[in-house]
């Protein structure tokens, strides 16, 4: 599988993503610099974590003026799998590819630790519902906000991908690290080809770092991709 990892000025998890895709999973992964204007040849795209454009104005807001943006929107709207991690999630909401917004954490602290998330919806980046993963988070602006109508739409359409939970998968407010509405840690777009999440699966995908839970998300992508290539051939 060929995967592009978009590099913005201020991205800092771009190498983490490239490393896992290329060196751990042995996929054909490459950087796509934000000044490029094409994602041709990519089967999937990762919008990585970091602080694109220094978080100026709002996290993810300035990325919309990057030359790669038009190609990213076209790729997503034509059904290409797009994974937005942390700042990547913020960018995808700012671009309108995902609903809602990411705001300052409820307790104003930068949260840097492992959390548990429960998979709510199997999909192109997620394993079967009920799967509990331990993944690291590192953010100050991860409180997912959407109005009541938007929340019921997300629920009705099965767009809620991941919720913060305890080690057994119980969803309680005490396990919500940032105050996100309904403990939401990750959401799909309506077509389910775009996932944004605050936790970092790419930082928990090899034994060397003591946690491989994140790999199941890339395994889900591989399974979806091979199923779709078989369907196409």
């Amino acid at each position: 599988m060929r995967v592009g990892v978009i590099q913005y000025p201020g991205s800092n998890a771009d190498y983490d993503a490239l490393h896992v895709l290329r060196d751990v999973l042995r996929w054909d992964a490459r950087y796509v610099f934000h000044k490029e204007q094409s994602l041709a040849g990519c089967d999937a795209v990762v919008v990585p974590g970091g602080f694109s454009y220094g978080d100026y104005l709002r996290p993810g807001a300035i990325a919309r003026v990057s030359p790669i943006t038009a190609a990213l929107i076209e790729f997503a709207q034509s059904g290409g799998p797009v994974l937005g991690i942390c700042n990547g999630f913020q960018i995808l909401t700012e671009l309108g590819l995902l609903p809602g917004a990411l705001t300052r954490n409820r307790h104003l602290r930068f949260e840097c630790r492992d959390v548990f998330v429960r998979c709510e919806q199997a999909g192109v980046f997620t394993p079967s519902a009920g799967t509990v993963l331990r993944l690291p988070i590192a953010h100050a602006d991860g409180r997912f906000v959407v109005d009541e109508r938007g929340l019921s739409e997300l629920e009705d359409r099965g767009q809620i991908a991941l919720r913060y939970c305890d080690a057994q998968g119980g969803v309680r407010d005490v396990d919500n690290p940032n105050g996100s509405v309904s403990n939401i840690a990750g959401i799909y777009n309506e077509a389910k080809n775009v996932l944004g999440l605050m936790p970092h699966p790419e930082r928990a995908s090899e034994a060397l770092v003591g946690n491989e839970d994140g790999r199941v998300m890339f395994a889900a992508l591989a399974a979806a991709w091979s199923a779709s290539s078989e369907g196409a051939s």
Partner: protein, 76 residues
């Protein structure tokens, strides 16, 4: 001409920064403060006669995120 843009969180969006400001003011003895909301102030210099509709477009496209923020602006 100068444009002054004010961007504020929508009323229904929790503002933990504003709450921290309110608590701090209380600590300093200003007990009468019942609410604090923190927003942004942006100054633009634009050509004289710029259509306010263009300013509105700037706010909607970039300066404010309509999902969580309101904006207003003044021309001078």
């Amino acid at each position: 001409m100068k444009v002054e843009v004010y961007v504020t969180l929508k009323r229904e969006v929790l503002d933990p920064q504003g709450d921290a400001v309110k608590r701090s003011l209380h600590e300093l003895g200003h007990k009468g403060v019942t609410s604090a909301r923190v927003g942004k102030y942006i100054e633009l210099e634009v050509a004289d006669g710029t259509d306010p509709a263009a300013i509105r477009a700037m706010c909607e496209q970039l300066l404010a995120n309509g999902v969580i923020e309101d904006f207003r602006f003044e021309l001078s």
